[in-house]
Symmetry: C2
């Protein structure tokens, strides 16, 4: 039990059973204009992310999601509309519907196109925060597809060499099937998220490596100093900065939607642009099975001699143990956040 | 003029005219089993990269390329063979032909598929080092396509948390058209290349930020210490490490070729796997032109207030001034490297 600086109230971790969390979220969404099917589907995206150890993009974000519905930024009953079809490439308008539902739809649509043409790509405009990007990677990879997807965001990171935030942290997801599970990379372009920096600031700790700049313009591990300047560090310095820019360019071009710069002129982060790309691996003609190839590469990684930092893991590996533990013991939730959720019922 | 530690011979920078460099490379390739068309095309890839300021993957690598031809790792007259077609997705066998020629071919092939289906993807197995990855991004983007491409490599970087090299630095290229030019990201997954670390070690300098580990397992800017441990740092720590793994998985799966682990069992780096993905932007239905969208995003980036590090640039921006200067004044080449090249004639 640690003390949160802002309130001096003890942070208690509750354990909420998965089914109960889905039920609570569903009830709240039904009260906010979602029909039963959409409420259930959306509740499961939030609950599944929490179950799999990514509460930052699950239960912790649920209250903000509901506030966005209340303010009209997220339209619960809106459904994506096709804007343009060009073979294996399609453009859809998200009509400001719920980000997770639009993203599930476009993931499935990319898979349909990939079944037809080997590869399929959907550009989605006017959508909302998709919460945990890994959701869509796990979904496609478990169905036997390679998945690449990314979203732009509001400007929240300075480009390499810049003093002000004009880049989004534009999360990128890449996934491949791995037996019945998946290898899923889900990375934002900042070295640390604001959530992580805030968490370190609250607990009084320093970051394990520089995560941004202090007021003097120097790289620092001091999380409070970074929160003051709002200057997050792009992952890999110029590399994450360049990648963030290209992902915004691609999302904006392929969807025909808004860029990070345009989203940032709004009063809140809504109407973002996303890309969903799937490859149907069953359409390939390889001498080895997918499982053989992926197992070979993962096993080779696992054979790495460990350095002092800890065990070598593949992206997504921790999800399996988190899911098992949290199904068994309940999903760990900060009691203050759960109280906030219950206040929305 | 600086002194190189290894020889104590002065490093002189020559200025070689573009046409003369192409001619010299062509002559050497003709002597090594290339037919006139292939020799010219391949010579231009090396000369263009040098012209545009990337000599590390141009003239500086040319002698090694010729040695690989001599040893039979690169087969000058081999041409890619189609292995499988599945709509907009194809698999080609590079037959161990020259990496740049195979990569140009597959870039063009991905564009043909994209013209037909909006998007096209080619997996290429049994190919060789493509030299400067940006080459293919510039080519496709100048023709009006979005380009994504990547290659795996021999293992040359430890995964995050690992002590030994089991990951490739697997360069990734993303490009979009920008008027008659392009925005081209061309990034390897290590924070610095061995070439850069070696250059710093030679000049006695330290790296501007940690680029790897010392013998004690600590992150260091000491380039000589990194050369001793051979432990390069992935860009963005766990992020570049995860991305490198996924790029290897995708390249191996989509091409049906060899993984980094498999390539690394060979006596030299040959028979790598690559992916070429193109989107035909003329097939989209956007209300704004491509130039308007890209200019809007680039201009927004350029409006960033500069921090102490210097000017904010988009990926590929420096190519334009390098090309102009080097066309005018000749391409700067280390005299010892040019001597080595001339020794191959």
């Amino acid at each position: 039990m640690t003390l949160a600086k802002d309130t001096d109230r003890p942070v208690e971790m509750l354990r909420i059973p998965y089914a109960g969390m889905v039920q609570t979220f569903t009830r709240i969404l039904l009260k906010h204009g979602f029909d039963p099917e959409k409420a259930d589907q959306c509740a499961r995206v939030f609950a599944d992310s929490s179950l799999e150890g990514v509460s930052t993009h699950g239960v912790n974000r649920f209250p903000r999601f509901v506030h966005y519905v209340r303010r009209g930024y997220v339209r619960p009953q809106a459904e994506p509309d096709v804007r343009h079809r060009a073979g294996a490439l399609e453009q859809w308008d998200g009509k400001l519907g719920p980000g997770p539902l639009n993203a599930l739809f476009c993931t499935d649509r990319a898979m349909v196109l990939a079944r037809e043409s080997g590869i399929g790509c959907v550009g989605l405009s006017n959508t909302n925060h998709w919460m945990r990007g890994g959701t869509y990677g796990w979904r496609a990879a478990r169905a036997g597809f390679v998945f690449l997807g990314w979203t732009n965001t509001i400007a929240n990171m300075p480009a390499w060499g810049a003093a002000e935030c004009r880049l989004g942290n534009n999360p990128l997801v890449i996934a491949v099937p791995y037996h019945d599970e998946a290898v899923v990379l889900d990375m934002a372009m900042s070295q640390f998220s604001y959530g992580t920096v805030e968490a370190h600031a609250l607990s009084g700790g320093v970051l394990p490596m520089p995560g941004g700049y202090d007021a003097g313009g120097h790289l620092t591990t001091d999380s409070s100093a970074i929160l003051t300047t709002q200057r997050l560090l792009p992952a890999g310095y110029w590399k994450g900065s360049g990648l963030a820019l290209l992902l915004d360019l691609l999302a904006t071009l392929l969807s025909g939607g808004s860029s990070t710069g345009e989203i940032s002129t709004r009063e809140a982060e809504y109407g973002v642009s996303q890309v969903f790309l799937a490859v149907d691996l069953s359409r390939l003609d390889n001498s080895r099975s997918i499982a053989t190839v992926v197992t070979g590469i993962v096993d080779d990684l696992h054979r790495s001699a460990n350095a002092i930092e800890g065990n070598v893991r593949y992206p997504g590996e921790r999800v399996l143990s988190a899911r098992r533990e949290n199904l068994d013991r309940g999903i760990p939730v900060d009691s203050r956040i759960w109280e906030e959720v219950l206040g929305l019922v």
